[in-house]
């Protein structure tokens, strides 16, 4: 058995989820996990291989023509071929936008079990017990997976911590280079361009020390002014979860989560946000998280440091009232 990790590109080299996965798998005994091989596609890791020292046993760098590096049709073909030729094995990837798409595509090509959004893994020889969230994070399920012929497992961002791997930190990772093959050429899709978000004229929520973040619990856009008033009085900025953007109540530049920004303020005040995984991965690095939600079972309370069970439309005026009274006195 071999363990593979797809090394997803990030602005500074390697996506943090990749490092989290590598840290966790590296701790599993070699007899169970086999050799741990990273798969990097394209040139994004060129000259940055040392970031993987101690994290993996070998790096497979696959050459692709310019323009194909972000084509998921191409990447899924490459990953399937690399696993077949070096396997059988378990392919791990992050449950990121790219990983959400690649995991099932590669799993279908390989004909192996696909487990998405894994938050916990207990791997013993040919079997694993995997846990994943369902129902907006309100419930967990455990799955028994037969790994005899391999599997594809995508891991929820932030579920595992990047720590404890220091052995071999100074030892360079051996690199195997794989030249481009025409069989990997995209037949159905063409990436025409990548569109970077423009923040012109907008506040950058990633720079905020205090974020007052609002979710679907807002109920109506007419309730936004009081939230903005609170953010202003606390000296913070306003941010939101995905439904608020979908409903057109706030612009996408305010969105926190897997599709939006990753934020790490001193205080993140989550108002009427249920706390689905796609939102949590964008804010769980905040120093203090305070959640206000009328649903005592809201998953946000599993990641928050402090919780208040209340209707935000009644709680926020109380907060504002006290702030204004404190200013007066």
């Amino acid at each position: 058995m071999t363990s593979f990790i797809y090394i997803e590109p990030a602005e500074d080299g390697i996506d943090s989820t990749t490092k989290q996965i590598a840290s966790r798998i590296k701790k599993i005994s070699t007899e169970v996990r086999g050799s741990l091989k990273g798969i990097s596609i394209g040139s994004h890791l060129e000259g940055k291989e040392s970031q993987l020292n101690g994290l993996i046993d070998e790096l497979i760098m696959v050459e692709v023509p310019s323009g194909s590096e972000s084509n998921t049709e191409v990447i899924s073909k490459i990953l399937a071929d690399v696993v077949v030729e070096n396997g059988p094995g378990i392919l791990f990837l992050g449950f990121t936008h790219q990983g959400m798409e690649l995991g099932p595509a590669v799993g279908w090509r390989l004909g192996v079990p696909v487990i998405t959004g894994c938050v916990d893994l207990d791997w013993k020889e040919g079997r694993a017990n995997v846990r994943r969230l369902i129902h907006g994070g309100k419930l967990l399920i455990s799955l028994a997976v037969n790994l005899d012929h391999g599997a594809v497992i995508s891991v929820q961002k932030g579920a595992w911590k990047e720590d404890g791997v220091s052995d071999g930190g100074e030892v360079s990772v051996p690199v195997a280079r794989l030249p481009w093959r025409n069989s990997w050429t995209a037949e159905r899709t063409e990436v025409l361009g990548i569109i970077e978000e423009s923040l012109e004229g907008e506040e950058d929520i990633t720079k905020a020390e205090i974020l007052v973040s609002v979710g679907r619990g807002l109920g109506d856009p007419e309730n936004l002014p009081i939230i903005k008033d609170l953010a202003e009085n606390l000296g913070g900025m306003i941010s939101c979860s995905r439904p608020v953007v979908d409903l057109g109540w706030l612009p996408a530049s305010r969105q926190v989560g897997i599709s939006g920004k990753t934020v790490t303020p001193v205080i993140y005040l989550a108002l009427g946000i249920s706390g689905q995984g796609n939102h949590v991965v964008g804010m769980d690095g905040s120093r203090i998280i305070i959640a206000v939600n009328k649903d005592p079972l809201a998953p946000i309370f599993n990641v928050a440091h402090y919780g208040v069970i209340d209707n935000i439309l009644e709680f926020v005026p109380e907060l504002l009232g006290q702030i204004k009274n404190n200013i007066k006195s």
Binding site: S70, T72, H97, M100, E101, G103, P104, A105, W108, G111, P113, V114, T116, G117, R132, L133, I134, H135, G136, G137, K138, L139, L140, I141, S142, L143, A144, V145, N146, D148, H149, E187, R188, T189, E190, V191, L192, I195, G235, D246, L247, G248, Q255, S259, G260, K261, G277, I289, F301, N302, V303, Y306, G307, V308, D310, E314, E318, L319, Q322, N326
Partner: protein, 256 residues
């Protein structure tokens, strides 16, 4: 141009009592089903294409009789025709296996699905369909820019606020992100009217045959459903509303 929209019925209630594990699969009992919100966005996108390009639209669902409600909503929103495949499963591989024969018969140029389901939260089904039917795929589509007889051009999210513009050769599968079109309210009157349409079962998912056909992928089973551990749960601030607000402001004062 024919567009198929795959819609899932998801349970109204989220509670442990309604979830039963049967042969490694999840079944929901004693709860109504409503349309998965992400699939509702896919329906809206299909209807927008129908209005712009004159496309014929077909909605399909795999589920028990209770899942008919999903199709009534589709009809009420303006989908031309609907069909239900009889089956009860929440494993994405089996859902895809049940949809594939119907989709082969419908022979659409475009298949739309929601980017994920509210209950399983995986997003696998659209991807499996694209692989099985040898179609191109765009995942997390937020805008359909252009459609012609041979290609479709879309914008899709790639994470961190970035987007990619992608061209796909038809036929293709689009996994549609929420917010692609505004969700329109469907009046009770329209839903009642839709219920007057008899909807025949298109066929039945034979889970055993499906499991054998994709035996390698089915080498897993659901063993247990449970509530997340209280470990790591927030310290709850109690008291009356005024006391709770005071305590929250004290946390702010200490931290900043």
């Amino acid at each position: 141009m024919r567009i198929a929209v795959c819609c899932k019925g998801v349970p109204v209630d989220t509670n442990l009592e309604s979830i039963h594990i049967v042969n490694g699969d999840i079944h929901f009992r004693d709860t109504e089903l409503y349309i998965n919100e992400f699939d509702a966005y896919a329906l809206e996108a299909a209807i927008a294409l129908k209005n712009s390009y004159g496309a014929e639209t077909v909605a399909l669902t795999l589920g028990p009789l209770r899942a008919l409600e999903v199709l009534y909503i589709a009809l009420a929103k303006g989908i031309d025709r609907v069909l239900r495949i009889d089956g009860d499963t929440n494993l994405p591989e089996l859902i895809a296996s049940g949809l594939i024969p119907a989709l082969r018969e419908i022979d659409p140029q475009l298949i739309l699905v929601g980017v994920q389901s509210e209950d399983w939260m995986g997003g696998e089904v659209g991807i499996y369909l694209s692989q099985a039917l040898h179609m191109g795929l765009a995942y997390a589509v937020i805008e359909i820019c252009e459609l012609n007889d041979t290609h479709i051009r879309v914008k899709k999210e790639i994470g961190g606020g970035r987007k990619a513009e992608v061209s796909l050769r038809l036929p293709a599968v689009l996994s549609v992100q929420s917010g692609i079109q505004p969700l329109r309210y469907v009046s009770m009157m329209k839903r009642k009217k839709a219920r007057n349409n008899p909807i025949k079962s298109w066929g039945k998912l034979d889970k055993e045959i499906a499991r054998q056909t994709i035996a390698g992928m089915m080498a897993y089973e659901v063993k247990e459903v449970f509530l997340p551990s209280k470990e790591g749960h927030a310290e709850m601030i109690t008291g009356d509303r005024s006391e709770k607000a005071t305590k929250v402001l004290e946390i702010f004062a200490k931290a900043v």
